[in-house]
Each structure stands twice: as structure tokens, then as C-alpha cells.
């Protein structure tokens, strides 16, 4: 008994601010020194770049540091909104994200509902193993797959089309198909993995509700409609809201792999545009301003959507 009390007081001494600050820090020196490296990481690699955003308001000369350049106020932002390529990238970003939500959002839910109806455990496991796998490969590899499937000359798809006597279709280089390619390839890669969370939500629905429904004579279709769907509704709403929050990210690595000059007009998004103008063309101030626009709007969106999802389930994300 007495040892427990000592332990409690020791814990209390360690964690409760009672002494002077210095003494307190000395007492917890190990704790603080363990925080040192993580803290340095956040300060150097997260906060210094945030400070570096200031070059968006400067006439930055390449090669010089963040400080000591001429301040030009919001001139870069005036330039952004009168820049046709930027407006195009913004429009593409919004459209692609919109399509990804419209088509890509319901698909994992459907997969989860279908998987839930499968009684053969082995079959279910095999299907799950297969459909989760694409999540774990890089976009470069997905690009290779798309190439092997849709290349004009020797892609499988076009070889099949040609063998039926029709003209081959340039899926990767035609503005008409490119956005669909982005949406479908990200569905192919992520839908399986995204279904996990809905499967877990379905598993969390009370079995007794199903039992009651069965006693009332509900068919499996009715069980799904009146028990499963309402049971996972809040999960669905929260994931939907969270996706809305990242609508300005249309996929950097994906687009960078698949983008080519023929489809740049419909495929270029804000992230690839910042990369192109900033790192490839060296216009640091302008591209940082574009990046800041994205960060700022993104911040407002995420804060707004977080608040919304908090309302939905009565608690915040963290």
C-alpha cells in the first residue's frame, strides 16, 4: 500500500507543476530532451517553410535567401488571378476532384456492402487480399500498368480493339479521356483499401437489430436498406466531409506520372502547376504565391469540414 502511495506522489511530482519552472524542467529533463529532436524537426522542416512563404510577397531573386528581397505586396496574387494557365489548373483541380468524389466516393461503400453479403470466408479473404493490393504500389507502377493496358501501339486494350477491326484509341493522349483515366485509375488503386473502413462500420452494427429485422420478415435487401445503411450513415457522412476538405488536392504523383503535353490542358492541377512553374521554370515567388493560395483555401476548407463532421458525430478529430 505504502509503495503505491509513493509511486503516486512520485508521478505527481514528475507531472504536476508545483516547483519553480526551472526546477520543474530539470525534474522532467528526460521528457523534454526526448521532445528535442521532434521539436527541431517541426521547427526546421515545417515552420521555416511556412516562414518562407514570405517570398510570395517579394520580388525574389533566385539564389538569394528568404530575407532581404524587395517587398511587392499582393502583386503576385494579382498576377495569379489574371494568369490563364493558373485559372485552367484551378478549374482542372476542382473538376477532377469533383469527378473523383462523384464516382470514386460511392464505390468503396458498394464494395463493402457486397463483401458483407458473402458467406464463404475463404472467397471473401481472397477477394479482399486482391483488391487491397493496388494501394501498396506506387503511382509509377500504376503508370506502367496503364501503359501496358492502354498504349496505342501495344497496349492490351488496343490490341483487342484492333483485332476486332476497329481503330485503336489513344486513351492517355486524348483530352476527352484523360480525366476519366485519372478518376478510374485512382478508383482502381484506392477503392479496395477505402472499403475497409466501411466494412468495419458494418461489422459494428448491432447484431440484435438484424435479428429483430429477420423476425419481422425482412429480406436481405430490406436488411441492407433499413439496417446496414442507416448503421453506417454517420461514417459515410464523415468520410464524405473529409474528402470535401481536400478538394484542392487532385493528386500530384498520379498526375505527374500520367500527364503529357497532349492532355496538359485538361490534366494540369494546382500541385503539378506549382511544380512546373516553380521548380522547372524557376519562378519561385509566383509559384509560392500559388502554393499559398492553395494552403490558405485548403486551411479554411479543412477547418470548415472538421467543424461540420464534429457536428455530425459530436466530437472532433483530435
Amino acid at each position: 500500500m505504502s509503495t503505491v502511495t509513493t509511486a503516486n506522489t512520485k508521478m505527481a511530482n514528475r507531472l504536476k507543476p508545483k516547483d519553480s519552472l526551472l526546477k520543474y524542467i530539470w525534474k522532467n529533463r528526460f521528457m523534454y530532451s526526448m521532445m528535442l529532436l521532434p521539436l527541431l524537426y517541426y521547427i526546421i522542416f515545417e515552420y521555416i517553410p511556412i516562414y518562407g512563404i514570405s517570398i510570395a510577397f517579394q520580388d525574389y531573386i533566385p539564389g538569394s535567401p528568404f530575407i532581404g528581397n524587395k517587398w511587392i505586396g499582393f502583386k503576385n496574387f494579382e498576377l495569379i488571378f489574371s494568369s490563364r494557365p493558373f485559372m485552367e489548373a484551378l478549374r482542372n483541380t476542382l473538376l477532377i476532384s469533383f469527378y473523383k468524389i462523384i464516382f470514386g466516393f460511392p464505390f468503396p461503400i458498394i464494395i463493402a456492402l457486397l463483401l458483407n453479403e458473402i458467406r464463404a470466408v475463404k472467397f471473401k479473404k481472397v477477394v479482399q487480399t486482391a483488391i487491397y493490393f493496388p494501394h501498396f504500389i506506387s503511382w509509377v507502377i500504376v503508370g506502367a500498368i496503364i501503359l501496358s493496358m492502354f498504349s496505342v501501339n501495344d497496349g492490351l486494350f488496343n490490341m483487342i480493339i484492333k483485332s476486332t477491326g476497329m481503330q485503336s484509341v489513344n486513351i492517355m493522349g486524348n483530352p476527352k479521356y484523360f480525366r476519366a483515366l485519372l478518376v478510374l485509375s485512382s478508383m482502381w488503386k484506392e477503392a479496395g483499401m477505402n472499403s475497409i473502413i466501411y466494412l468495419a462500420a458494418i461489422a459494428g452494427v448491432d447484431v440484435q437489430v438484424y435479428e429483430a429485422a429477420i423476425i419481422d420478415g425482412a429480406s436481405r435487401w430490406q436488411q441492407m436498406k433499413y439496417v446496414t445503411l442507416p448503421g453506417i450513415a454517420s461514417t459515410v457522412v464523415i468520410i464524405f466531409i473529409l474528402q470535401l476538405g481536400s478538394i484542392l488536392s487532385a493528386g500530384l504523383e498520379q498526375t505527374l506520372v500520367l500527364l503529357n503535353p497532349m492532355v496538359a490542358g485538361v490534366g494540369e492541377n494546382i500541385d503539378t502547376y506549382v511544380y512546373k512553374v516553380g521548380l522547372k521554370q524557376g519562378d519561385y515567388s509566383f509559384s509560392t504565391a500559388v502554393g499559398l493560395f492553395k494552403s490558405a483555401v485548403g486551411y479554411v476548407l479543412i477547418m470548415g469540414t472538421n467543424r461540420l463532421s464534429k457536428k455530425v458525430r459530436g466530437e472532433s478529430i483530435f
Binding site: 521528457m31 529532436l37 521555416i48 464494395i111 477477394v127 486482391a130 501498396f136 507502377i141 502554393g291
Partner: protein
């Protein structure tokens, strides 16, 4: 009623089988191409599964030897990167699980803010250049060294460990690092292993970060080399003596063989570790 049900069942099984096939078949097709003898390939025609097998493309890749250089790069980045990720994430998560520690709120707010607001690509690039990390693995390893999301997941795992476990050690006069390494870490192994897996896969697959920070070809990891082989035009490759990839008859097989060589490690561990990945998604989902 019963009949309709079985119709739905058959349809459901068929549909999910189709989904599974769609997810996996492209890999089989790529394997097929990579194993196809040159003569067969030149003949054209649709080949869906490997029939005549030739390891020509693989022998070519290994004899050429460049692949080993990229493999080495990928391994350096994956191992050093994952180790850095884990060390920093564990330290940060452990300290932040002590909610009564003075300064806790400041640390927490400061860190969470960076989840929502970032400096962005150009300022980060300028920082790395200022630090002299361009063309150094340091830039690749330190970019995103702590994923705040995984850190918070691990932190919530630490928060669920009963305090009495630590108290017992503190009575014996154990220091905070001792408690972390000898008591907390051993019982957190499942959570840490899961997070390590996610980090490692991320490092293995990343190409944007190494692409912008590493200029010298010999440092390029597999993903960056692969992207160039598959998508860039021949100019830079001619100088590197890899034009054969584009022009020679064995080109397509070489490309696909390189793809296979790149995904083999992931494909080998994936079936065994799948349950950890799933668990990882779910631990995260409870929080998010």
C-alpha cells in the same frame, strides 16, 4: 424468394470475383510481357498468360547492373528513412501522451497546425537547398520525417496503456527513457510494427521527393529510374547509354521486367502482412 436470393448470390460472387481479377490481372499481364521471348513479342497478337517463357529481359537487366545501383538507393532510403520516421515518431508520440506535462498544449497545437497549413513545395525546396541537402539522401529522408497523422495514432495507443505499468518502474527509480524503451515499447510492438510498415511502404514507393532532390542518376531509387524509363523521352537516356530500352526489340520486355523487379519485395511481404495493414487503417479510423 429463395430463387431470387440465390440469383443475387451468384451475381454478387461473380461481380466480386471480377473486381478481384481487375485488381490483380494487370500484374499478371506485366509478368507475361516481361517473360515473353522477343520473337513471340515481335509476332504480335494477344497473349494473356505466359506460354513460352524467356528470362532474357531479366538476365539483361542484371547483366547491365544499373538496377543494383537503384536498388541500393531504394534500400538506403527505405531503411534510413523508416528508421528516422520511427525514432522521431515514437519519441514525439510518447512525450505527447503525457498530457499533464508542462508545455503539452503548446507542443500539441504547434504540431497539429502543421497538419492543416504547410509551407508548400517551393519554400521546402529552398530550405533543403539552403541546408546543402540537394543531391543528398538527407533531403529525402528528412522530408516528412514525422507523419503527424501516424504520430497521433501511436500517441492514442500510448494513451491507452494503463498508467500503473509505468508507475511500478518509476518506484524502482527508472528514468523516462528507461520506461519508454523497456516498458512502453515492448508492449506497443503491434502498433509500432504497423506504423513501421506504412512508413516503409511509403518510402519504397515515393518518387516525387527523390526526383526533385536527387540530381545524380546514380543516386536515383527504383521508382525514379522506372518513371524515366517508362515516360520520359530518350534524350537523357541516350547519354546514360540506356537508349536500347527505347529502341531495341527487347525494350518492352525490359520495361516490364524492371516493373516486376520493383514490386517483387512488396508483393512478397504483402500477403503475410496484410492483416497489419488492415489493422493500421482501423486504428487510424477510430481517431480520424
Amino acid at each position: 424468394m429463395e430463387k431470387k436470393l440465390s440469383f443475387f448470390n451468384a451475381f454478387n460472387y461473380a461481380l466480386l470475383f471480377l473486381f478481384g481479377l481487375t485488381a490483380l490481372y494487370p500484374f499478371i499481364y506485366i509478368l507475361t510481357i516481361s517473360l515473353m521471348p522477343v520473337a513471340d513479342y515481335l509476332k504480335g497478337g494477344i497473349v494473356l498468360f505466359p506460354r513460352n517463357i524467356s528470362f532474357e529481359a531479366y538476365l539483361h537487366i542484371f547483366r547491365n547492373g544499373n538496377i543494383f545501383l537503384s536498388y541500393k538507393s531504394t534500400l538506403i532510403i527505405a531503411i534510413a528513412g523508416t528508421f528516422t520516421n520511427l525514432a522521431l515518431t515514437i519519441l514525439c508520440a510518447y512525450v505527447l501522451s503525457k498530457t499533464k506535462l508542462k508545455g503539452y498544449k503548446i507542443f500539441m497545437n504547434m504540431i497539429i497546425f502543421t497538419m492543416y497549413f504547410k509551407g508548400g513545395l517551393i519554400p521546402s525546396y529552398m530550405l533543403m537547398r539552403g541546408l546543402g541537402f540537394i543531391d543528398s539522401y538527407m533531403a529525402v529522408i528528412l522530408t516528412g520525417a514525422i507523419s503527424t497523422y501516424y504520430m497521433l495514432v501511436l500517441r492514442s495507443f500510448f494513451l491507452n496503456i494503463p498508467e500503473s505499468l509505468e508507475e511500478a518502474a518509476i518506484i524502482d527509480g527508472a528514468s523516462a527513457p528507461y520506461v519508454l524503451f523497456k516498458i512502453i515499447l515492448p508492449i506497443s510492438m503491434p502498433a509500432i510494427a504497423t506504423i513501421a510498415l506504412f512508413y516503409a511502404v511509403g518510402q519504397w514507393n515515393s518518387y516525387f521527393t527523390p526526383m526533385i532532390y536527387l540530381n545524380s542518376r546514380k543516386m536515383w531509387p527504383l521508382q525514379v529510374i522506372l518513371r524515366e524509363i517508362l515516360f520520359e523521352s530518350t534524350e537523357s537516356m541516350r547519354t546514360a547509354g540506356e537508349a536500347e530500352l527505347q529502341s531495341s526489340a527487347i525494350g518492352p520486355q525490359l520495361k516490364m521486367a524492371t516493373v516486376i523487379v520493383t514490386i517483387v519485395p512488396i508483393a512478397m511481404v504483402y500477403p503475410f502482412l496484410q492483416k497489419y495493414f488492415v489493422k493500421g487503417v482501423l486504428i487510424g479510423a477510430v481517431k480520424a
